[in-house]
Symmetry: C2
Subunit: 85 residues, 2 copies
DNA sequence: CTGTAGACTTTAGTCGACG
DNA sequence: ACGTCGACTAAAGTCTACA
């Protein structure tokens, strides 16, 4: 069906990982901060699962960033991907 | 525990409906624009289902708004809800 | 035009354990 | 410190049809 499903999943994972690394956090650290499973964070970052908006809000809380800023980054990457193919 | 799951679900639905109505669109119109089922849009607006980020991007495309703007509205309502309880 | 109800398939999300 | 596999429960998402 609509293929953007995979694109966004990948971008979310990539974005999450970039922010986490920039803050010098391990997946375990973040998992503990947000009270979510570490293996689940791994799945998100790898692009295997697409987290719900609720989960993203929790993740952002752990990362101390605003969800709207996170989604702005995602949107930026999405537009970039759509331009290039 | 505080059930943020439900809160965000409700806010997304409420936000989607507000934007849709402001544009004078019916659920059917929007469903046709985005190529998603009409009954599913109803479920979202009523707060029964929480749409994935991918779905929200599709919905925003049909509404001709930027996803980041949508999430900004959601975040605003979320903060408001957290302040009041 | 909208909400809801089945019935159904796919995916998210949790958890323990292993390389 | 990270990825993944397996198994499970819950929820997303599709579609038809009725009030």
């Amino acid at each position: 069906m609509s293929d953007p499903s995979n694109i966004i999943k990948q971008i979310i994972g990539k974005t999450l990982k970039a922010i986490r690394l920039k803050q010098g956090l391990s997946q375990e650290d973040l998992a503990h901060e947000c009270d979510v499973d570490r293996s689940y964070i791994s799945m998100i970052e790898v692009g295997r699962n697409e987290p719900s908006v609720t989960k993203i809000f929790e993740l952002c809380k752990g990362l101390k960033i605003k969800p709207s800023d996170f989604f702005k980054l995602v949107e930026g990457e999405y537009e970039k991907a759509r331009k290039n193919g």
